[in-house]
């Protein structure tokens, strides 16, 4: 069973943290810090398996990690998972992110945390591996995103369009138009937020 999935950068800032067992918030932060501490000390060409942390799971767990550019992807697993299998899973995860975000970089993960969570939810559920086929995962995630967009209405319009409308400087509308005998009351238009 996978106990936790953590992504953090070279300075230890968490970019994604998903725990499949319950810990208090303080413990979670401590786990992140301790894991970073253990993983950052490792050389580049040593093996990707680590033992020896104290916090999660006691003695029956390992850290399996991979270092991509500025990010560490760490999976904390117990002995029921195959180590090499998890290593492959990390690879599949990163490739999926790459496909979804088009040349994914750390900024993508920072600004779209919720999307990353949704992708992860298609791969690992309840601490167990759900799906490992990249195309299947992407297909499902796309379908769900489409569903979300269809509900959104104008708010689902691309961000630039919305902000363009917002910044449009409409002249002040006169409340009452009095032309001779005709008096027209101008209705209040809904404002774009």
């Amino acid at each position: 069973m996978i106990k936790a999935i953590l992504i953090f950068n070279n300075h230890g800032k968490p970019r994604l943290s998903k725990f499949y067992e319950h810990y208090t918030e303080d413990t979670e932060q401590q786990i992140i810090r301790e894991t970073f501490h253990l993983v950052s000390k490792r050389d580049e060409n040593v093996c990707n398996f680590l033992e020896g942390g104290m916090l999660i799971g006691g003695s029956d767990y390992k850290l399996i990690y991979r270092h991509y550019a500025t990010l560490y992807f760490v999976f904390c697993v117990d002995s029921s998972e195959s180590e090499l299998g998890i290593l492959d899973l990390i690879q599949v995860f990163v490739e999926t992110l790459d496909k979804c975000f088009e040349n994914v970089c750390e900024l993508d993960l920072i600004f779209h945390v919720d999307k990353v969570h949704n992708i992860l939810a298609e791969m690992v559920m309840g601490g167990m591996v759900l799906e490992t086929n990249m195309n299947e995962i992407i297909m499902q995630v796309d379908a769900q995103n489409k569903m979300e967009k269809s509900e959104a209405g104008i708010a689902g319009a691309p961000a630039r369009a919305v902000s363009a409308v917002k910044n449009m400087n409409l002249p002040e509308m006169p409340r009452n138009i009095n032309i001779g005998d005709i008096s027209i009351k101008v209705p209040n238009l809904p404002s774009f937020k």
């Binding site: 968490p14 319950h22 918030e25 680590l50 945390v113 799906e131 769900q144």
Partner: protein, 796 residues
């Protein structure tokens, strides 16, 4: 609106904060805004508020106020809000929160939703944080979904079922039939989920295990399909067809085949096929091979297959990729107990791995090497292990050291080799060793009597070079103390003797005593050693005396006690010194347990000072008389027990003890008023308190004494108590007094009955202690009654 826009603005704001304090400020402002917005009932932007909150939660700030919002959002009809709501539930809620119960109903409704993605959200959340009650409620729903037709939902339902079974084992029976039928699916995702579910069911319930053994042929069929079939683009990962599924099935086969001949037979062909066909150049291939090897070694496979498996592991060990080497060693560790010889063949490679730079690989290699040590290879292995010890990372030192000790103990070819090895370990890594090594080594040394000379020379040299390793210093001090004469004699067959004078030896010991690197225990060792040398050397006894007396005022209580005792040994018991400090006998090893060694060693050490203490205590005992003890027996010396002696306070002469004796004499002049045949006598009359007693003979040896007290002063007396003591062979039983207050001017009296039984018919004496309070101050007095009035028989 997709939650991302407002979320991104907030993230940008947080990232632009330059200091931790600024960041906290930004986050607090955002949280306040979010809280305000939660309070508003209907809000278009609810989902992005929650998304913002989740981001803040990931950074580590408290976010519990979002829990109710999660519940509300899960119940909303919009998919986007549900999505964020469920994500929030997975991150913020857990079974201990009350809010988690509230979402049970929402999950139940969503599980029957028409949209499969809503269903999947509900399944995902249930699998992540479902509590036992939720699982019980929703299990039938999950079972229904397992039998449905939608493969996307089926695979999620399978994993959800795994979570349910983990939480509530009894529900396993509910899912067993559904799991069985899922094995015939084509969709790999569902198949994978089914295999995981079956694995979990078998883990909990042995009967289910029996049931699923029948599925072994099906599983074998599926595996064959995966391995033999050609290239299938949708399942291919780097040349291997769906390695994840293969690994899972292999694992399940392992569980099913364990301890079962029939199942193992059915798998043998398949395993051989997988082992030979899988391409091992990529990691995925290695993953499958590794799992195959684990399975082969775990089930009752035929010997050819086992050899094949161990050979694969051997190939792994030579692989350049450290990961592969690591897992190979993990696997070998598991089988070193059963297939010892097979693993021995790879000993060379494993020992080479000890020199690897990688800490994880080193750890594995160390464990495996220690397991591989045997009588035949002990010398070469030990050389390697000692080399490793000098360069290993600090967290492995203790493990390595204790492993070396165990190995040395079991397979040492000779005592000298054994001692050499332990000395080597102590010099390289002494500081990390466990405490029991010192007494063990001492015991070993005393047993090797012909090597005493050699040992003490080596230890002396080690002591001169380095006194920072505490266990080494302790052993060295002990040896120098014990065998100092051998050292000074300057001749030794085994090693180059060192020409040393008595002053040098004492210098060395004094350095240890004074060094700030020495722990208190080490100092104690050194002091005792110095003392022992006083009988073994001839010239510098005075120097020893002065050293010892200096420590008589040391702050450390243990050292002070020892120094004072040794001082006493010099002054008063010089005649006993040689006997006390002679060579220790060979220490017996009672059992392999270490604690025995410690206690024996400690007891042996303690007997020496205890014996000395006993002699001194005997003197004091005659003066220390507990008031309420012995009358005829005071001439016998009190024998303190051994245990008591070790905790007895320092032997400073107990001047206070004579006070007890004085008290005895205080009222000795009081003669009992001679009322010859009169049954009563005034036992005590002082400060206005009068105590009279009368006796009545009950039986041949029994006597009842009635004590009456009265108060003739002007002030009241309260808390009046009497205590009595009689000679040793007489038994005494005091009845309850009539009261404890004596009003002034003798208006009332207090009586107390005392029953005395005198079977040996010794001379009856009684000592009474009177205590009372008068005018706010306490008084205490004692009186001894040496002769009782002639007793009158009862009835007169």
């Amino acid at each position: 609106m997709s939650p991302s826009v407002a979320l991104q603005e907030m993230i940008r704001a947080i990232r632009s904060a330059r200091t931790q304090c600024e960041e906290r400020g930004v986050i607090q402002r955002e949280c306040a805004a979010i809280r305000a917005q939660f309070r508003q009932a209907d809000n278009g932007g609810r989902s992005h508020n929650l998304a913002k909150l989740l981001y803040v939660h990931m950074l580590g700030y408290p976010a519990h106020f979002g829990q109710m919002e999660c519940v509300r959002m899960i119940a909303s009809p919009h998919y986007s809000e549900k999505r964020v709501g469920y994500l929030g539930a997975m991150m913020l809620l857990d079974e201990k929160q009350d809010a988690s119960l509230l979402i049970t109903n929402s999950i139940k409704n969503d599980l029957s939703h028409s949209n499969q993605y809503v269903q999947s959200l509900a399944l995902c959340t249930l699998a992540c944080m479902g509590s036992a009650e939720m699982c019980r409620d929703l299990a039938p729903e999950i079972d229904r979904l397992l039998r449905g037709t939608n493969s996307y939902i089926k695979k999620k339902a399978a994993l959800c079922a795994v979570h349910i079974v983990r939480k509530v084992q009894d529900l396993g029976e509910l899912f067993a039939p559904a799991a069985r039928s899922l094995l015939s699916e084509k969709n790999h995702g569902v198949l994978y989920g089914a295999v995981v579910l079956i694995t979990e069911l078998c883990a909990w319930n042995p009967e289910t295990l029996e049931l699923f053994r029948k599925t072994v042929p099906d599983l074998v069929q599926i595996m064959k399909g995966l391995v033999i079939s050609g290239y299938s683009p949708e399942h291919d990962v780097a040349g291997v067809s769906d390695p994840f599924l293969q690994v899972r099935i292999l694992r399940l086969l392992r569980i099913l085949g364990r301890n079962n001949e029939a199942a193992s037979d059915a798998m043998n062909d398949l395993l051989a096929q997988v082992a030979t066909n899988t391409d091992s150049t990529k990691t995925v291939g290695n993953a499958v091979l590794y799992e195959t090897v684990l399975t082969v070694l775990d089930i009752k496979s035929e010997s050819g297959l086992r050899i094949l498996a161990v050979n694969i592991l051997g190939r792994f060990l030579l692989n350049n990729d450290r990961n592969i080497r690591y897992i190979a060693m993990t696997c070998l560790q598991k089988i070193v107990g059963t297939d010892h010889n097979a693993v021995q063949r790879h000993r060379g490679t494993i020992v080479d791995c000890l020199k690897d730079q990688d800490a994880s690989v080193k750890r594995r290699a160390l464990e495996l090497s220690l397991a591989l040590v045997s009588a035949s290879n002990i010398r070469s292995m030990m050389k390697e292990l000692l080399l490793f010890l000098s360069s290993c990372p600090p967290d492995l030192r203790a493990e390595a050291g204790s492993g070396i000790f165990n190995a040395a103990e079991r397979y040492a070819p000779s005592q000298r080799w054994h001692i050499d090895t332990i000395l080597h370990v102590l010099t390289t890594a002494g500081g990390d060793m466990r405490d029991e090594t010192v007494p063990n080594l001492i015991q070993l040394i005393t047993n090797a009597s012909e090597l005493h000379c050699y040992t003490v020379h080596k230890l002396y040299r080690a002591l001169l070079t380095d006194i920072s390793q505490q266990p080494l210093v302790q052993v060295a001090c002990w040896c120098i103390g014990e065998y100092g004469d051998l050292l000074l004699r300057g001749e030794c067959q085994e090693t180059e003797p060192v020409q040393v004078t008595e002053d040098d030896v004492l210098d060395a010991l004094e350095t240890v005593l004074q060094s700030h690197m020495s722990s208190p225990a080490t100092r104690a060792f050194a002091l005792t050693a110095t003392m022992k040398l006083s009988t073994r050397i001839t010239d510098n006894v005075d120097r020893i005396r002065s050293i010892v007396s200096i420590y008589g005022s040391c702050i450390d209580v243990e050292l002070q006690q020892r120094a004072v005792e040794y001082n006493a040994l010099f002054k008063k018991y010089d005649h006993m010194r040689a006997a006390v400090l002679e060579r220790m006998p060979v220490i017996e090893r009672n059992s392999p347990g270490h604690t025995n060694g410690v206690s024996v060693g400690e007891a042996v050490k303690e007997i020496q000072p205890a014996e000395v203490k006993q002699g001194l205590l005997q003197q004091n005992a005659n003066q220390v008389c507990d008031l309420l003890d012995l009358l005829g027996g005071s001439e016998e010396p009190v024998q303190p027990s051994l245990a008591q002696s070790s905790t007895a306070p320092g032997m400073s002469v107990n001047t206070a003890s004579t006070a007890g004796g004085d008290l005895l004499d205080l009222l000795g002049g009081l003669e009992p008023t001679p009322h010859a045949p009169a049954p009563t006598l005034t036992a005590y009359e002082k400060h206005g308190v009068t105590l009279t007693l009368s006796c009545e003979k009950q039986s041949d040896s029994g006597l009842t004494v009635t004590l009456t007290a009265s108060n003739s002063t002007d002030s009241d007396i309260s808390s009046f108590t009497l205590q009595a003591a009689v000679p040793k062979s007489v038994q005494l039983h005091m009845k309850a007094p009539s009261g404890d207050s004596l009003p002034a001017r003798g208006t009332a009296k207090v009586t107390q009955m005392v029953v005395v039984n005198n079977p040996n018919k010794v001379k009856l004496k009684m000592r009474l202690r009177i205590s009372y309070t008068r005018q706010g101050s306490a008084f205490q007095d004692t009186v001894q009654i040496d002769s009782f009035p002639e007793v009158s028989t009862a009835g007169h």
